[in-house]
Amino acid sequence: MARINAGQRVRLVDTEGNEAVDTFFFNAEDPRERYSAVDTVRRQRNVYLTTGTELVSNEDRTLLTIVDDTCGRHDTLGGACASESNTVRYAHDRKFMHSCRDNFLLALLNWNEDFSKRDLGPNINFFMNVPLSADGGLRFADGISGPGKYVELVAHMDVLILISNCPQLNNPCSGFNPTPVEFLLWDA
């Protein structure tokens, strides 16, 4: 979790490629206002995130805009992995594997104990490839990212960024080999 002030830029770099970076945002002054996947999709009439996408809050305001993207598209409908959904999707013995939900909850509660699970909603999965099909399907596909690809955003208001570099080993979202991502923040 980190604070990004209005006007600052943030860049996430997929250093070794094929990573999934689960990311969520809050209005730093009023954390009840948070990133909303469905409002983002609805406003741009498109399910994939890329350059030009405005990341919209649950109050229908723009939190940040994606201003550069060398990957091409990012997911916002797949949500974060969790021991609960891993158990549903894969097997009961996956229950004790590390997950983005664990990372999210720990970071939130360490930041401020006023946060709880209720404050989480569907997040962004930068560099993750979740194609939707015309017949209503959705799947987790092999990544389209590569070493050194990055996405860059500019903040429209003071926000908190919550990041989990996905530790998922049950599907190809991290290439079955989670690798480091670089987080850069600067004054534009």
């Binding site: 909303s36 999709v41 009439r45 409908l77 949500g79 969790a82 609960e84 549903v88 709880s116």
Partner: protein
């Protein structure tokens, strides 16, 4: 299904909101009387309300972005809250959320309570919040809702659109509670609906008694189709169909 099979029936006018406790094993049938309706739905474990419908987990666990017969609505704790036991419609949206006051005004014009009294144009966000507030919940609990009776398609580039297939007068869907579930409904227009909307009237809260076999209804439905007495998507409960014809008009058709 004879009307006395329902424990409760309620007609929800266009744009309004409603909540009910659905005990485990009970079922809820929603019927879109006008064919132009949209029912936004949120669901919570009534006994532990931090457990709630989770759009992303529902989608990825079933490799789908539509809800239809046989799908379940998963909670964030990996448990089905509601199962779709019957569905004449076929493709319910999960990815567009709901409307807010500014969107409704931009789409339909200003028509507030001072102008229109109870005919004022309502929106999904406010309706959900008014209902969530009644149950001790609030903004933090307003997560992405499902939209029944609205079909949203996605093309190869990811562009989305509201499909004409959404217009199905009499379409119905039946949801069975797998836990004790707090169901919150909004009949505000779908957020992709453009221009003055047609009449929106949805009928909800029709709960068959527990243990009443769903298949009875299904067989009757097939029989009706086979004899040609009803069009495929017409509901069995004729009286409600007739009531719908005289139902008050929704936004844009006053």
């Amino acid at each position: 299904m004879p009307s006395n099979a329902f424990l409760l029936e309620e007609r929800i006018p266009a744009g309004c909101h409603h909540a009910l406790l659905l005990k485990r094993g009970y079922a809820l049938r929603l019927t879109d009387l006008s064919g132009d309706g949209n029912v936004g739905l949120l669901a919570f474990n009534a006994d532990e309300r931090s457990e709630r419908y989770n759009m992303a987990d529902t989608l990825k666990a079933q490799h789908t972005h539509k809800l239809a017969l046989g799908n379940v609505l998963y909670s964030d704790m990996g448990r089905p809250l509601l199962s779709i036991m019957g569905d004449s419609f076929g493709w319910h949206d999960t990815i567009c959320g709901t409307t807010n006051a500014a969107m409704i005004e931009a789409t339909y014009g200003l028509n507030d309570f001072q102008l229109a009294r109870n005919g004022y144009y309502r929106n999904g966000r406010d309706g959900f919040l008014m209902e969530l507030g009644r149950w001790g919940l609030g903004r933090r609990d307003l997560v992405p809702n499902a939209n029944f009776f609205s079909t949203v398609t996605v093309d190869d580039e990811g562009n989305i659109g509201l499909s004409e297939a959404s217009y199905q007068p009499g379409a119905w869907v039946e949801l069975r509670a797998e836990l004790n579930v707090l169901v919150i409904l909004s009949t505000a227009p779908h957020p992709l609906r453009e221009g003055p909307a047609a009449a929106r009237t949805s009928e909800a809260s029709r709960m068959p008694k527990p243990g009443l076999p769903y298949r009875t209804e299904a067989r009757r439905h097939e029989h009706a189709t086979a004899t040609g007495n009803h069009s495929r998507r017409r509901p069995l409960h004729g009286p409600h169909q007739r009531r719908a014809a005289g139902a008050p008009r929704g936004y844009g058709r006053q």
